[in-house]
Amino acid sequence: MKYIFTPILLLPLLTFAADETFTIQIKNHRFEPAELTIPAGKKIKLLVENMDATPEEFESHELNREKIIAGNSKATIYIGPLSQGKYPFFGEFNEATAQGTIIAK
């Protein structure tokens, strides 16, 4: 029985190894880069670094994601696998300036 489960237990390791990491920074209530290209059809790990002293909420209706990032700290958000297209995101606490797009190709 345990031989059946061993490969299942190893699954998380496989997915972990496969996730590519992309980084976006928040500076002066803006995303840098504001446009990020990621591979379509793959799950990726998005690291959002907030360089501002104030908290921000990374939000995207298109990606169905939302996460608060405290001032001067980092957050991990898993995204995808996405089909090809443009996925806008924004910072809910500073929506006027904090705008960005993820492009899946």
Binding site: T54, P55, E56, A70, K74, I77, Y78, F93, N94
Partner: protein, 277 residues
């Protein structure tokens, strides 16, 4: 100022609707206002504390602490609402008839009250901490018009509470005959919606697979940002682009609670026997 009002309104609305439904659903429970107020106060206090620990929580469990925290909080609320609905299915009628002096009912009533306190507290905690963080970011960003923004926040908060209160008043006008059915149904859908949101956080943290993502996309027809979308999101867990796993969580919760309610309803004799013994 308008933008601030909208953001705060969105957060407060969700909590206000849940509290409005819960408060109406428990209208016949003795002392329920006291317990609900206590939950509200504890939730507000907790929000301020929680907001202060955002960074530490985020960094837990290698960066997915926030998602885990939200999922656990939502999961707890789902269990509480399930308990409430199943309890109401067997005791609602007794309470409505005014049979409050039965020893067992009172004992259970206290348990029901602590469930109330927890649900209200948890709801306020979740929505409140985001509002606190947002208002804090306005104050500390040193913008010249921060007082105008804070007024906007107050307007949003009041508007949210007014909607919740209106729902509560509206529910109380439902004739007694349909009252339990109506409020139980609302609580059932609330719980299912919360389960779907919990799944959403676990997917975001990459702890469970999304299955099909998205299952459908109704963001053009009914965006979640719209008033109707917002109301439906808070009330029945509407999601414009849900993942398949969210739907699985939703359906399991719906069926499990409904089954629990049916099951207790079919055994009224057992309950009466206990009361006699």
């Amino acid at each position: 100022m308008f933008g601030t009002a909208i953001i705060v309104f969105r957060e407060v609305l969700e909590a206000a609707l849940i509290i409005g439904i819960i408060t109406a659903a428990t209208r016949d429970i003795p002392n329920r206002s006291r317990w609900i107020s206590a939950g509200l106060l504890l939730g507000l206090l907790g929000s301020a504390i929680l907001a202060g620990f955002t960074e530490q929580i985020s960094e837990l469990a290698s960066g997915i602490g926030q998602e885990l925290f939200n999922a656990v909080i939502l999961g707890t609320a789902v269990l509480m609402l399930a308990w409430h609905n199943i309890w109401m299915a067997s005791h609602g009628a007794e309470l409505a008839e005014g049979a409050r002096n039965v020893g067992k009912a009172i004992q259970d009533g206290t348990k029901e009250c602590s469930v109330l306190l927890a649900v209200v507290g948890i709801t306020v905690l979740r929505e409140g901490s985001e509002t606190v963080l947002f208002l804090y970011s306005i104050v500390t960003s040193g913008q010249a018009d921060s007082s105008a923004l804070l007024i906007g926040g107050a307007v949003g908060m009041i508007a949210g509470v007014v909607v919740g209160y209106t729902l509560y008043k509206g529910l109380l006008r439902i004739p007694m005959r349909w009252f339990f059915t109506a409020t139980s149904l609302l609580v059932l859908l609330l719980a299912a919606g919360m389960a779907s949101q919990a799944a959403h956080y676990l997917i975001q943290a990459d702890l469970i697979p999304a299955l099909i993502s998205p299952m459908w996309d109704t963001s053009a027809a009914l965006p979640e940002k719209s008033i109707l979308g917002l109301l439906l999101h808070s009330l029945i867990g509407y999601d414009a682009r849900p993942a398949g796993m969210q739907l699985v969580f939703y359906m399991i919760t719906l069926v499990a609670i409904a089954a629990g309610m049916k099951w207790t309803n079919y055994r009224p004799t057992a309950n009466k026997l206990e009361a006699v013994v």
